[in-house]
Each structure stands twice: as structure tokens, then as C-alpha cells.
């Protein structure tokens, strides 16, 4: 990607102070043209506030937001070239599907003669041809989503914003619509910012993910980077199911570090900045549930850097995988959670059974406690 091009969207030191609540703290990010960014975070993390500032419904109390290089803090929403799909869709119930899609074209003074052709082009794009004259209460949930997308895109905005529009859908339809969003976004090449609390959705649809918590950006990375090299325990825990152990830093050599957890010494990869890695510092060690192997016999586990024995406390059947909760006293009081995916080996371990587990050093992420 051309590093000299102007980013489609960028934020510099953006802050939103509500009475008694700092909703967004010092947010900085850049998003390149045609890319799909997901802002991911739990409810109350400030992700929707950040989106509403980009849309223009809120004015940041500090900092600047640029769309196509133009500072927009003082520009009203209807003067920005931003299409938005709202959480509750906010479709106009007194209009038909075609009238909903034509609305932004009329408001933005498009050539009236070209509107019908443009409307049917975009209804085709979202596969709603034939339903032009339906009212909103005559459309299914998925069809309403499609009208909302078409309405947000029909005026070819510089930027598409998605404010958790999929949150209310059932899982199957949600996953279908995620791929649909992805397809349309790729087809039109429109720069998109999506807000969600669904980490799976973020991994599936995005080119870039920003994880937020308590109004602060925790990490800004690609999905694979986010998954493989989380910057802090929050990110490690929010994306996927992660086991966290408390320990102390015992040795540092570049990224590879040794930690002591109780009487054990284990090795892992340092994910905090090197200057914080002081010997003896308290650390949190994260290992993902799917990166721990489990077996009744130790030699069936293959090559491992760390191996333990534990007792099965609980087995949860999740369909495509099993979740084991193990008690391993050496690693602390919290149960160790392990996903077991092996489709060829349906031998399950029973509650109370003693099993062997283990993982590779490269899968243990070490974070220095702040």
C-alpha cells in the first residue's frame, strides 16, 4: 500500500468527555482507503461513542478527526459523506424499500432522472430485486438489514459506518450477514468502520481491528496479529478463551522470557514493551484454551515445552468441540480451560479422571502487570 496516500479516516488525540464520564481517551488511529476496520470492545468501552463522533452526531471535546484528509469536527452529519447502518436500522416505516433507498439521493440533490436507475442498481446489489414496493413491516429481519445497507451506500459515501446492526439477529442469520457485508464492501471497495462486541465477527470480516476498553484503544492490528500477538491480558482474554496465570519475571533474553509461577519456572514470549520487563516484576501469563493439548497418556501429546498433570473438573459439550475444565494446583486455583477439537479421537475424559496437558513456549504470552 502506498504509504504517502492520505488515509481515508484518521483520528488524532480524540477525546470525549461526558459529564462525569470520560467515554473516549486519547484515541489515535489511521484507516487506509477501501479497508474494513472493526472497533471491538465490551459494552461501555467507548466504541459506539467513537463511531458517533466519526458520523458527526457527537463533537469530540478534544482532538481531530479527518475524513479523506479533511478535518470534520465542525461539519454536521448531513454535510459529511458518511453512510451509516444503525443498531436498530432506523429505516423509515412510512416508506417502501425503494423510497428508503432513494431518500439520501433526494436529500443530497441527485439528478432526479437518474435516481430510479441508481436505486434499482443498489437493490440488486443487496439482492432485494422484486421487493422494491414492500413496506418495512412486510420485510424479514435479513431483508431489512439489506435495505439499510443499500440506503447507506447508494449515495457512494466516502465512508460506511456499521453500528452493531447485526447484534439483534440470530446466530445463523448474523453469520450470513457478516459475509454479505464483507462481499458488498469488497465489491464496492468502500472504506468501512464496523462496531461490535462479537470477537468472531471482528476476526471474520475485518482487515484491521481496534480493541477498546474503558475508553482506551488497547490494540490496533490486523486480525491475525491481534490473535497471535495480543498486547495485553485484556486483548488476550477478549479474543478467544484464554487462561491467565500470575507469576514473576525470572529471566529476560529479548522476547523470550522465563517466569516463575509458584514453584514452577516456565518460558514464554514477552508481549509488553521491553523497558517494562524488570526482573522480579509481576507478570500475567496467557495461554489460549485451544493451544493446550490434552490426553490420557503423556506420550500421545507429542513434543511439548511445558507439561502438567491435572484432574478433570467439568466437561462441556459444545458441538464441534469439547471444553474441559481442569484443576492443576501448581498453576493456581482457577480452573484451566482447554478446547479439544480432535475429530478423529472422540475418546472423552470423564470428570475425576487424571489427564496430561501441555503447550509450546511460543503459545504462552507474558504481560508485565502495570
Amino acid at each position: 500500500m502506498n504509504t504517502h496516500s492520505i488515509p481515508a479516516v484518521s483520528a488524532s488525540n480524540v477525546e470525549m468527555q461526558f459529564p462525569g464520564l470520560l467515554a473516549v481517551k486519547d484515541a489515535n488511529f489511521e484507516l487506509d482507503n477501501g479497508r474494513f476496520l472493526t472497533i471491538l470492545g465490551p459494552s461501555g468501552s467507548g466504541k459506539t461513542t467513537l463511531l458517533r463522533m466519526i458520523a458527526g452526531f457527537l463533537k469530540p471535546t478534544r482532538g481531530e478527526i479527518f475524513i479523506k484528509g479533511k478535518e470534520v469536527s465542525a461539519v454536521a452529519p448531513n454535510k459529511r459523506s458518511v453512510g451509516m447502518v444503525f443498531q436498530k436500522l432506523a429505516l423509515f416505516p412510512h416508506m417502501t424499500a425503494a423510497q428508503n433507498v432513494a431518500f439520501p439521493l433526494k436529500m443530497r440533490r441527485f439528478d432526479a432522472k437518474k435516481i430510479p436507475a441508481r436505486v434499482s442498481e443498489f437493490l440488486n446489489l443487496v439482492r432485494l430485486d422484486g421487493l422494491e414496493d414492500r413496506r418495512m413491516n412486510e420485510l424479514s429481519g435479513g431483508q431489512q438489514q439489506r435495505v439499510a445497507i443499500a440506503r447507506a451506500l447508494v449515495f457512494e459515501p466516502d465512508l460506511l459506518l456499521l453500528d452493531e446492526p447485526l447484534a439483534a439477529l440470530d446466530r445463523k442469520l448474523r453469520e450470513e450477514m457478516q459475509l454479505e457485508f464483507r462481499r458488498i464492501q469488497k465489491e464496492l471497495g468502500v472504506t468501512t468502520i464496523n462496531v461490535t462486541h462479537d470477537q468472531r465477527e471482528a476476526l471474520v470480516v475485518s482487515d484491521q481491528i481496534i480493541v477498546m476498553d474503558h475508553g482506551e484503544i488497547q490494540q490496533d492490528a490486523s486480525p491475525t496479529q491481534m490473535y497471535r500477538t495480543p498486547h495485553n491480558p485484556f486483548v488476550a482474554n477478549f479474543i478467544g478463551v484464554t487462561n491467565l496465570f500470575v507469576g514473576q519475571l525470572a529471566a529476560v533474553s529479548g522476547e523470550a522470557v522465563d517466569v516463575t509461577i509458584g514453584a514452577l519456572t516456565l518460558s514464554g514470549i514477552l508481549r509488553s514493551s521491553p523497558e517494562t520487563a524488570v526482573l522480579g516484576a509481576q507478570v500475567r501469563c496467557a495461554v489460549r484454551a485451544e493451544q493446550i493439548r490434552i490426553s490420557a497418556a503423556l506420550d500421545a501429546l507429542g513434543e511439548l515445552d511445558a507439561a502438567f498433570q491435572g484432574t478433570v473438573k467439568d466437561v462441556i459439550f459444545e458441538g464441534e468441540r469439547l471444553l474441559y475444565e481442569l484443576s492443576i494446583p501448581e498453576l493456581g486455583d482457577d480452573p484451566v480451560r482447554i478446547f479439544h477439537h480432535d475429530q478423529n479421537d472422540f475418546a472423552t475424559h470423564d470428570v475425576g479422571e487424571t489427564v496430561h496437558i501441555g503447550w509450546m513456549n511460543r503459545d504462552m504470552h507474558i504481560f508485565v502487570a502495570p
Partner: protein, 314 residues
């Protein structure tokens, strides 16, 4: 888990006692007739009105003999012929009709922004203030309020006192058509706001934000989105104001000073001044017909469904 009945909430115990009492009076629980039983009071009430209407219908067909002060023995349409031929009645009907239409339009124009601000303001204090200001007039009867306007707008009233300070001769602010309409608008405003507020609350704020992000200015959002979506509320409020204004008695009587009679005042005069019950009944029936026609026209133009009376809308 077993709980002793005494630990249940008070409301449950009251309801249980009522159910037990009902079962004692009506052991089978009434079965499928219970719903009809519950309808009875309303049917009796409406039925009484129908009986009264029949009596009025009967009176309207009898003329008063001015010499004997007796009503005619036989039915005649003479009262109806008189109602349609007397210019005074036409003036009164036209004045009432125009008054009701003007009052409805002006009231809706004032009530809409009031209700909108009340529903949308993020300021809790302002919302409470608007609500209290809305409900306060309900505690003061219509007649008392009309007398209040007499004090404010009279020749020696507050308004003329203030105008006198700046050297303006006392203006005649009372006993004319505008004074009656002014009083009616002030009386109808709370009704209209109360009927509009739920209609506006039902429009999600997100819809207005959406219209903005799609390129609509504030005015365009109002005209293309908020007003069309508030249509059922506007029609409902309009109907209430229209019918209440058309049939109003106190405002024309007090603020009109006898020179600005509406239909209700004319009916009152026939019943209690000239004691011509027959002609009064005729005018009353004409008023009912006029009101029903107006409501019918509104339904025909906008459709009953716009009032959200049509169950399939939900």
C-alpha cells in the same frame, strides 16, 4: 420451594381474595359469559344516551305554538325547514365550523413544537417544567379560565394597562371572534399536546439521526420523516380539538359576550331562553350530524388505519 401464602406480596393476596369473593358469588366463574357481563355497564350507559337521542329526535319533529305554548300533536319537518332557511342559523353554523377549523390548525401548530421539545429535550428540568405547565390548566375549569381572560384582556385589564403606559388608547380585545378563538386555542392546547406526546415518543431518535446522516437538513428531517411518522398522533389530536371546539359553549358565551354564538349557544338559547325545545332539539341533531360528517371526512381522507386503530399495523 414452598412459601407460606402470608409471604406473598400484598397485591397478590388482595387479588386472591377478590377471586375467592367472585367465586363465592358466581361459583362457575361465569364461563364464556363473563366478558359480556363486563361489557354491561358500558352498554347501559351508551343505551341511555341512545334513549335520550330518541327523545330529542321526537322533540325535533314537533313545533311550538307561540300562542298556546303547546307542542304540536303531530310530527312535522317545519323545524328542519326553519333551521336551513334562517340566515341567523347559517351564520352561527358557519362561525362554529370555521372557528373549529382555525382553532384546530393553530392548536396543532403550537402543540407540535411543545410536544416535540417536551419529548426530546435532554434537560430533565425543562421537561418537568413543560409537563407541569401543561397539567396546571386542567385543575382550573374552563369557565374560571375564561373569566381569567376577561380580567387580563378587559378594557381595564392588564394588557390595556400596559398599553396605556406606552400611550396606546385602550383596545377592544374582548367580545369578538378572535377573542373566542384565542380562548379556545388556549383551552385545547393541553389536550393536543397530551395526544401528540406519545406519538412523538414512538419515533426513535435514531431515525432522526439516520435522516441527518443520509443528508437531510433539520427542516427536511421534520417534513419528510417526523411529521409523516407523527401523522396518526396529529390526526387523533386534530379530531379531538375539532369536535371539542365545534361543540364548545363556555368560550363563545364568556369571551364572545353573546355576539359570537356557536351552535351550542344557539341550542342553549332555544332550550332555556325561548323554551322552544323542538327547535333546540333540531339544532342539536344538526350539530351531531355536522360533527359526525367532519369525523367521517377525516377518516375518508386519511383512512381509519392512520389512527393505528387497525390491529394489523402493529
Amino acid at each position: 420451594m414452598q412459601r407460606s401464602p402470608s409471604s406473598y406480596p400484598l397485591m397478590w393476596r388482595v387479588m386472591d381474595a377478590l377471586e375467592a369473593a367472585f367465586a363465592a358469588i358466581w361459583p362457575k366463574g361465569g364461563g364464556k359469559y363473563t366478558p359480556y357481563l363486563m361489557l354491561t355497564p358500558a352498554i347501559v350507559l351508551v343505551g341511555t344516551l341512545v334513549v335520550g337521542l330518541l327523545y330529542i329526535g321526537d322533540s325535533s319533529l314537533r313545533t311550538l305554538d307561540k300562542s298556546t305554548f303547546q307542542f304540536s300533536e303531530f310530527w312535522t319537518l317545519e323545524n328542519y325547514v326553519r333551521a336551513f332557511s334562517e340566515p341567523f342559523i347559517f351564520t352561527v353554523v358557519w362561525r362554529s365550523l370555521m372557528g373549529a377549523v382555525i382553532v384546530t390548525i393553530v392548536t396543532l401548530m403550537l402543540a407540535f413544537p411543545y410536544a416535540y421539545v417536551m419529548v426530546r429535550t435532554p434537560n430533565a428540568f425543562l421537561r418537568k417544567f413543560l409537563l407541569i405547565a401543561l397539567f396546571l390548566p386542567f385543575f382550573i375549569g374552563q369557565v374560571v379560565r375564561a373569566y381569567g381572560w376577561l380580567i387580563i384582556l378587559g378594557n381595564q385589564g392588564i394588557v390595556n394597562d400596559v398599553l396605556g403606559l406606552v400611550g396606546v388608547e385602550p383596545l377592544r380585545l374582548l367580545f369578538n371572534y378572535p377573542a373566542v378563538l384565542f380562548g379556545l386555542v388556549q383551552y385545547m392546547l393541553p389536550f393536543a399536546v397530551l395526544m401528540l406526546a406519545p406519538a412523538l415518543t414512538a419515533i426513535p431518535e435514531e431515525i432522526e439521526a439516520a435522516a441527518g446522516s443520509l443528508g437531510a437538513s433539520w427542516v427536511e428531517t421534520m417534513t419528510h420523516v417526523v411529521l409523516p411518522m407523527a401523522k396518526p398522533g396529529l390526526i387523533g389530536a386534530g379530531l379531538v380539538v375539532l369536535t371539542l371546539s365545534l361543540t364548545d359553549f363556555a368560550m363563545p358565551a364568556i369571551l364572545g359576550g353573546g355576539t359570537q354564538d356557536f351552535i351550542a349557544n344557539a341550542i342553549y338559547d332555544q332550550f332555556f331562553r325561548t323554551s322552544d325545545q323542538g327547535f333546540g332539539a333540531t339544532l342539536a341533531l344538526l350539530l351531531i350530524a355536522l360533527g359526525s360528517m367532519l369525523v367521517g371526512v377525516v377518516f375518508a381522507v386519511f383512512g381509519a388505519g392512520t389512527l393505528a386503530l387497525d390491529g394489523s399495523q402493529k
